[in-house]
Amino acid sequence: MGMASKSIKTLLVAVFSIFLLLFSANSFASDAPVGGAEKHEASSFDPAKLIMEHIMDAHEFHFATIGEKHISIPLPVILYSPERGLTMFNYSKFNHGHDVYQGYKSAEGHIIAVNEVGEHDTTITVYDMSLTRNVIQMFIALILLCLLMIGVANKYKRNGAKVAPSGFQNAVEPVITFVRDEVGKPNLGHAYEKFMPYLLTVFFFILINNLMGLIPGSANVTGNIAFTIVLGVISFFVILFSTNRHFWAHIFNPPVPGFVKPILVPVEFLGIFTKPFALIVRLFANMVAGHIVITCFVMLIFIFGAMSKVAGWGFAPVSMAFTIFIYFIEILVAFIQAFIFTNLTAVFIGQSMEGAHHDEAHH
């Protein structure tokens, strides 16, 4: 009786902490101990570490570890250091982080330069240009995207415009017309045609990587800050290049009383940078959060399993139900985030060209 009430209490604590964890995404990053699991052998099973491993980039596709054997696909490592030049080898040379190879060592997934005695050599800068699992998966996704889209385009060319679409063409066409009619035209007016290739590329670039990231065992490409930074910076430049003098006049000489200008001008100027920054963080946070939630629900089984086998098995169906539910939401989110990124980019481009419309209206 005493034993049973204690395990129920532990279970409640575990569930409570997991839910707190879900509602405050920050607690993951700060490696907060997962309440219930921490009490039982934290060394053998660390969910926070596993989750981070899942969502972070890596030099190998790691599927499972059975005993001492790792089931993984090691990927090419490409390193450049101004002192040592270009180095290329396979990640398997590190023997899962145990060995030093060509003066480099893998520490917690990061490749660092080491000196003769095997200590971290901070004098040498290393640029890790490796084809990590994010890079490889992104390449696969993009090759797939190019093949699919060029295939569809060829079908259009072959059949001409008058033939009704068929097959995959039918699936792609409404998406393309959606991006054109709901994103391009309303935000960019009659200048939309110039931006369509960019908007479509961004949309499908994000979408296919979002969807590929949902395959179990795959990498979390769109939930990586580097990926979203690149897209955000490209958006930033596209927005910047489509600005006109009205846009800049509005920023540096806003139509407000003189004494407000010193406040408003920095705010407006900052706005140029906050827009793409918001794009970067939004996509990153949404995708990473989805992956964390899904892995959390799977982890729950093992957290309970660590407490008692019965609890683990018992919680498995509940956990699976939640995981499947979140998975469906994530499929939706994959589309929504691609749409939001594209739509907001179009909105910002539209804002930066806004004066032009007024101009044309006057002439």
């Binding site: 990053a29 981070m52 969502i55 972070m56 980039d57 490409i78 640029y127 890790d128 240009m129 490796s130 084809l131 990590t132 994010n134 890079v135 992104m138 390449f139 993009l142 995207l145 190019c146 889209m149 060029i150 569809v152 385009a153 060829n154 259009y156 060319k157 001409g160 415009a161 008058k162 792609v172 066409e173 393309i176 017309t177 054109r180 045609e193 369509m196 290739p197 960019y198 479509l200 590329t201 499908f204 670039f205 990586n224 800050i225 580097a226 990926f227 930074i229 690149v230 897209l231 490209i234 990473v288």
Partner: protein, 164 residues
């Protein structure tokens, strides 16, 4: 914060991949697809516009036909009326002509009769004259002895005079 620390490699590879994919898809996918979609849309719009035009033309044609039919009907009525009038006129003309002919013939006949009657009367008068002269001759040539005989004789002579 490991999570917020972007990897240089992924940055470079993503940028490279995006640019390659952008230019590839721009020229080989988006351009033909958007062009086809536009072509199809304008084609459909044109087809609808021309269908509307044809419909309007059909309606105009129908109206025209109806107007033409109405006009034809009117014309037919007019023609029938005219024909009837012509026919009536012809009949009345014929009647008039016949009557005038008849009048003329009658008039001619009457004048001929009158002429002949006059001629006959003239003839009778002449004959009566001659007869009177003859009778007078005979009476004169016979002696007027007997009054009775004379009267008988005149009677005899008068009887001999036959007025045709």
């Amino acid at each position: 914060m490991e999570l917020l620390n972007p990897g240089v490699g992924l940055l470079v590879w993503t940028l490279l991949a995006f640019l390659v994919v952008f230019f590839l898809l721009k020229s080989f996918a988006w351009k033909p697809i958007l062009a086809s979609l536009k072509e199809r849309e304008t084609g459909i719009a044109d087809a609808i516009a021309s269908a509307d035009k044809v419909k309007a033309e059909m309606a105009a044609l129908k109206n025209e036909n109806e107007a033409m039919m109405a006009r034809a009907r009117e014309e037919r009525a007019v023609m029938i009326k005219e024909a009837k009038e012509t026919a009536d006129k012809m009949v009345s003309d014929a009647k008039d002509k016949a009557k005038s002919e008849y009048d003329r013939i009658v008039a001619e006949a009457q004048s001929a009769i009158m002429q002949q009657k006059n001629a006959a009367l003239t003839d009778v008068k002449n004959q009566v004259g001659t007869l009177v002269i003859e009778v007078a001759e005979k009476v004169l040539s016979r002696e007027l002895s007997n009054k009775g005989d004379q009267e008988n004789y005149i009677k005899q002579l008068a009887e001999a005079v036959k007025l045709n």
